[in-house]
Amino acid sequence: MLELRHISKSYPTPQGPLCVLQGVDLRLAVGESLALMGESGSGKSTLLHLAAGLDTPDDGEVRLDGRPLSALDEPTRARLRRERLGLVFQQYHLVPSLNVADNLRLQARLAGREDAAWSRELLERLGLASMAGRYPEQLSGGQQQRLAIGRALATRPALLLADEPTGNLDETSADEVLTLLLELVGDSGCALLMVTHSPRVAAPLDRCLRLSHGRIAEASP
Amino acid sequence: MNPAKRSRRFRAWLALGLTALLAALLALQQRGAEPPPESFAGLGEQAEGYTQARPGASLRFPEDHGTHPDYRIEWWYLTANLVDGNGTPLGIQWTLFRQALAPPGDNDPERADSPWTSRQLWMAHAALSTPDDHFVAERFARGMTLPDRRGQAGVITEPFAAWLDHWRLESRVTDPAGDALDRLLVRAQGRDDGHDFGYRLALSAEGPLVLHGEAGFSQKSADGQGSFYYSQPFYRVEGQVEIDGETREVSGRAWLDREWSSQLLGPTQRGWDWFSLHLAGGAKLMAFRLRGGGEEGGDYVSGSWIDPDGRQTPLADDDLRLTPVTHSSVAGRQVPTRWRLRLPSQELDVTVSARHVDRWMDTAFPYWEGDVVVKGSHSGVGYLEMTGY
């Protein structure tokens, strides 16, 4: 489903190019969940952005459903993101002037594949049904992140990419959100690539990779 | 801006203008010379190109009642000490000044026939004093020479008339044998600080004309500077004075001075103190002191003793003594308003005091001019003029 081959990526800095990823290989099967761990600056987020087609590697290839992303133009990559991917950010990135229901449906609608029943179910299961008419600023952090997860899953993506989805939450909320995320991912059958620095968060996932200085340092089953 | 302030501004301008002109002329002629102390109204400045008053000339009448345009300055100067029906003392002054702006032949206009082109500037002062008040007005005109009518200001001799606008001094003499100045009519109206004043007086001379100094040449400083100067001090006056619409019948005595010169003051003389006194018994005394310009930089003192029958005796500083006794603060200056006059040859020792200290003439060339009372060995009334303070 997702395949990264010999990915290298460096950023220009005033002190010369900074190598973030050096020949990383990674595969993710359909329905599989993978935790990507590592220190700050180990290249976790960069890898996630490359996987989402938001950024392009200097070297190597990213393939989604067997197709190399580098061969696609921007509109096609954007459509691919709309239709096949779900993104969850640490900062939620909700639209403050849309209410809960509209935020949840935003991506699905943009992708032209809104499933009203599924959206309702998501609202129910995320515990947001009673606040569908509220605005993001009226929600707690945990509720906002649940809404962001809902927005990502509403399109029924093939792959959910999550960047520290619980990084801004306290432990209880984090556990609650994580449980819900895994449950929904499991039910919808989509694959999950989650960046985290917390072993506790990584533990329930199928596999775990550790990035260190731009290379895969170790893999756990 | 109130009118008084406005008029002050203009007067200052005019005064400045005239002084500056004359100063400029002086500067051209005396380049490099040490600037002398400034004299009153620039009268001490050198006036090259003008005819100079010199002793030895004899005066001729009625011609000399008229203008002498080739001399720089000239005046017809009338003062009168009057009383009204209630015995209130009043004083009047009527003066016409002529000043040449340029020497004869100089600056002759391209269009000499234009009546507006003139090198003569005329100025008239009219004043009326009561024991409490002092009303002053002044008017200006440029000289005009017109073939068939009177200009705005001027003096003619046949019949005698001196005028500026409707301020007139005219002869009433019909007898061709008599002097034109024997019988005069003088009139003026003015407005000062919201008050209307005016007078209309008939003057009749009870004595002859008096020529001062040396047959009319009156020396003004030790170095020979001087003017032509004669007077008619013997007028008896009848007429009316009007203040703010109220008319009073008045009578008294008047004194007319005629003087012309191109160099009245020496360059170091700052001003003068001038007395014209009617003494009881009919004698008259003219006395003046020119400050500076005497022997060794002292004052120059001169005068005339005039008998009741008009005989004149020249006075010099070996006989005549003029001493300021009291100074008063007038218009921001210290002006002597009480004097002691001594003339041992006539056994005269009198105090001359101003009826009111504030007789300041706030005109283009400001000076002090007012009625005085004489007490002491002789009594009388008269006028005192003080300039250059």
């Binding site: 987020s45 952005h49 938001l54 950024d55 921007e74 509109p75 954007a78 691919l80 993101r81 709309r82 991917l85 993104l87 950010f89 640490q90 900062q91 990135h93 639209v95 403050p96 002037s97 849309l98 509209d102 449906r105 935003l106 991506q107 609608r109 943009l110 992708a111 993001p136 600023e137 927005r151 960047d163 990084g167 | 009118p3 406005r6 008029s7 203009f10 301008w13 203008g17 005239l18 500056a20 002109l21 340029a102 600056n107 206009p109 391209e110 269009r111 234009s114 507006w116 082109t117 003139s118 090198r119 200006f140 005109a141 009177r150 200009g151 705005q152 005028w163 606008d165 409707h166 109206q189």
Partner: protein, 833 residues
């Protein structure tokens, strides 16, 4: 807090601008344009006032004038007779000299010796002495700006066209522009005259004048400042509008910098900087920026004024015959005033910011995102304030309806200001409501829905710029319609009123000869003599009216004239009004009718040299461009009662006349009668001159209007630029969700274009309301005549287009920047804090 820690805190606060130089630029730009337009107009006003003051000092320090009733010049005899009778009159001769190079100079010959004490002529000193002034070669006194307009070189006067020289130059800054003053002897010589134009006398002087002479009181000669007040009030109102628009930018920039520095300020508070210290630091920052902005603004304002002044001067000369120097003369208080207004405006704009900083909640960190509740509160406040302002405007309108029309100038402007500001305040609530409604409507179109939702998000920031746009557009439309309508009406009126083909102004002595000669000519169809006089409109027994000076105008009620002459109101119909007029009734102009309330059917009492006259009023006629009240009689009636001969003749030519007839007539006139070509004016020439006057009058208005619109565009651009960073964090997630940059840029442009279109749509009714206020309230009060309301659809369409154009132009740069944003930059939005 000691100085060092204060400095540290200040630098921390100010470091914000190092990271966001755009905001600093926006603040300064706002201050700069606000103060530049304001001080520019004030510079013009100050210069004009200086010119008036100089003119008033010279001409109307209460000096009455004495002229001959028959209009002939006075003689030296006239003058001397008065002087010798004691009348304190002073002679004056005026005339025009042509200089080499073609420029013309007005010359006044005076006699400084007889001028009433304290009159401006006398005090217009210069440094030349009186003797220099009175004596050949005399002196030419004129103001430095007059000299500059005559010659390129610094201090030499050009010779006359015929080669003669003017007297030596003497600069006198207190003289009005365009006038040279010299001694009367010199002036008579240069003008080759030996008579006098008129005599002057102090108004308090009592005079008995011989019958041929007439005295005009100084107070009847309207002071220039008085006439032109309304013109300057108009300018000031325009400048005030520009100031408000500029301050809106400042306000937007300040709120933005505050919002973005809230975190920083909380940190500072937490680190021990007291609330008071924080406020004083912000205040210090404001003042620093204010002084800088004001300095920039005032300098550009002076430059702007220099650029506009020639037009203003031309307008004033055309409208009121007042000369205004073409060089700026700025008193010291002008500079201080500009600084004060800029700083005052800045503080007003920054008051909210300071207030919020003072009430800063140290622990409120988590609530920075609560924009929605805040925005709703803000909208409610705006709606409330806007409603209040509308109430004020409505109340003023109701009050104005019951006032005499001539007294409503300042209240009229206040009403317009309240109405405009009220409408501007209503704009954001209206836009928000519209967006919410549209968002509901378009929920099936997700990108559109997002764009609308996102526009709501931008609204707090954008609304200020939109308000500025609304104000500028309404003003543009309102003033444009007023000028356009005026133009239509004025030109039509001019066409109707100028019925004669030629106008001849013969010298009074040759008037009769000219009439006889013209009547004998074949090509002349009709002669229409005209006459003029001055009179006093006396109060009548029935009214408590104050006597007021009026012009009396005599015309010949020939059908050639009456058939075209427009009337505004008559007792029955126009034909009977003209019949009554021919029988001896009067007509009055609209200015007089509005000022006095006189109406057809009523009687008026007029002073005349032959005693007071009672006249019925037959009709009211429009009289555009005339600042004074006027009474119209037949020319013979006027000549008889005012003992003055007609001064000009309208010549109606035969229809079949050959094209060269006018030139032939002109030639014959000068050959047979010795009447110069200048005395004969072609109707087309008058039309051309009047149109030119008209165009010039409104050139300045148009220029200011355009500038204001430019400022509004700038406001839009700067607020867009200022929020670029914020926009990125809104756009990046959408991009990540799979909307590529193309549609995002498109959506951004559509957002702004749509908002501008809605704003413009609101500006249309507002602009029309403004037009109505201008023609029906302001014009009546300022000029004394009312204009019909004209609506120009093309202009409205142009306004709508202009608004969208300005918005798109302003959106272009941010959109381009968004388009060029690299994915990496967008990705930084996702970096964890």
């Amino acid at each position: 807090m000691n100085a060092a820690s204060q400095r540290t805190a200040f630098l921390a606060l100010f470091s914000h601008y190092r990271r966001h130089p755009g905001q600093l630029a926006m603040l300064l730009v706002g201050l700069w344009v606000a103060s530049a337009l304001w001080s520019g107009v004030q510079a013009i006003n100050a210069s004009a006032r200086d010119s008036y003051a100089r003119a008033e000092a010279l001409f109307s320090t209460g000096l009455d004038r004495i002229e001959r009733r028959d209009g002939l010049p006075l003689t030296l005899d006239d003058y001397l007779s008065l002087r010798l009778a004691g009348a304190p009159v002073s002679p004056l001769v005026t005339g025009e000299l042509e200089l080499a190079g073609g420029s013309r100079l007005e010359v006044m010959g005076i006699d400084p010796l007889t001028l009433p004490e304290g009159s401006g002529f006398r005090t217009a000193g210069g440094t030349a002495t009186l003797a220099d002034f009175l004596q050949p070669p005399y002196r030419t006194r004129l103001a430095p700006d007059t000299l500059a307009s005559l010659t390129e070189e610094d201090d030499t006067l050009p010779p006359l066209a015929d080669g003669r020289q003017l007297p030596p130059l003497e600069l006198a800054p207190e003289l009005p522009p365009g006038v040279a003053v010299m001694d009367i002897a010199a002036a008579l010589e240069l003008l080759e005259r030996d008579d006098l134009s008129r005599l002057l006398v102090a108004p308090e002087a009592r005079l008995d004048l011989p019958q041929p002479l007439v005295r005009s009181a100084a107070e009847n000669l309207a002071a220039p400042g008085q006439l032109t007040d309304s013109f300057h009030l108009n300018l000031t109102a325009m400048a005030l509008l520009a100031l408000v628009v500029g301050l809106l930018i400042v306000h937007a920039a300040l709120s933005l910098t505050l919002e973005q520095r809230l975190g920083l300020m909380r940190t500072l508070r937490a680190l021990g900087v007291s609330g008071r210290a924080l406020v004083s630091l912000l205040l210090g920052e404001l003042l620093m920026l204010g002084v800088l902005g004001a300095a920039l603004g005032i300098l550009s304002g002076v430059w702007l004024a220099q650029w506009l002044l020639p037009d203003v001067a031309a307008s004033l000369q055309a409208l009121y015959g007042e000369r205004v120097g073409s060089e700026l003369a700025l008193p010291w208080h002008y500079w201080l005033g500009g600084l004060a207004v800029t700083l005052g405006g800045l503080l007003t704009a920054g008051l909210g910011t300071l207030w919020r900083a003072a009430r800063l909640d140290v622990l409120g960190l988590g609530r920075a995102q609560a924009w929605r509740g805040q925005f709703l509160r803000q909208l409610r406040g705006m709606a409330l304030a806007g409603g209040l302002l509308w109430l004020i405007a409505g109340g003023l309108l109701a009050w104005l309806e019951r006032q005499p029309p001539a007294e409503g100038l300042t209240p009229g402007f206040v009403m317009i200001a309240a109405g405009l500001l009220g409408s501007a305040l209503w704009l954001p609530p209206l836009l928000a409501m519209l967006l919410a409604a549209l968002a509901r409507l378009l929920r099936r179109r997700p990108l559109a829905q997002w764009a609308l939702a996102d526009l709501q998000l931008q609204l707090p920031r954008l609304s200020v710029a939109m308000m500025a746009l609304l104000l500028a557009l309404s003003a543009n439309l309102g003033v444009g319609s007023m000028v356009g309508g005026f133009r239509l009406t004025f030109l039509e009126w001019l066409d109707q009123r100028l019925v004669a083909d030629l106008y001849l102004r013969p010298p009074p002595a040759r008037y009769e000869a000219a009439v006889d000669w013209l009547e004998a000519r074949d090509e002349v169809a009709t002669l229409l003599p005209r006459a003029r006089a001055e009179a006093t409109l006396l109060g009548s027994a029935s009214s408590q009216r104050q006597p007021r000076p009026v012009n009396v105008y005599g015309v010949t009620p020939h059908p050639a004239l009456t058939e075209h002459w427009p009337l505004l109101a008559s007792q029955e119909d126009d034909a009977s009004a003209w019949q009554a007029f021919a029988r001896g009734a009067a007509m009055i102009n609209e200015q007089l009718a509005l000022a006095t309330g006189l109406a057809p059917g009523q009687w008026l009492r007029l002073s005349s040299p032959t005693g007071p006259m009672e006249l019925p009023i037959a009709a009211i006629y429009p009289d555009y461009g005339n600042p004074r009240g006027e009474v119209m009689l037949t020319a013979p009636h006027l000549s008889e009662r005012f003992q003055t001969a007609p001064d000009s003749i309208g010549i109606v030519l035969d229809r079949q006349v050959a094209p060269g007839a006018i030139a032939a007539l002109r030639r014959d006139l000068s050959q047979t009668l010795g009447i110069g070509g200048d005395s004969l004016i072609d109707q087309r020439e008058i039309q051309r001159r009047s149109t030119e006057i008209f165009e010039r009058t409104f050139a300045i208005t148009r220029a200011l209007n355009t500038l204001t619109l430019g400022v509004a565009g700038l406001a839009l651009l700067s607020s867009l630029l200022a929020q670029t960073g914020q926009r990125r964090s809104q756009l990046a997630p959408l991009w990540a969700l799979g909307v590529s940059r193309g549609p995002l840029v498109g959506a951004s442009i559509a957002q702004l274009g749509g908002a501008a279109l809605v704003t413009a749509a609101l500006a249309v009714p507002l602009g029309l309301a403004l037009t109505w206020c201008l023609v029906a309230v302001i014009n009546v009060a300022a000029f004394g005549w009312r204009l019909p309301l004209h609506v120009f659809p093309g202009q409205i369409a142009a306004t709508l287009g202009l608004a969208v154009g300005v918005a798109l132009l302003a959106a272009l740069l941010p959109a381009w920047r968004l388009w060029r944003t690299s994915p990496r930059t967008l990705l930084t939005e996702f970096d964890a804090l």
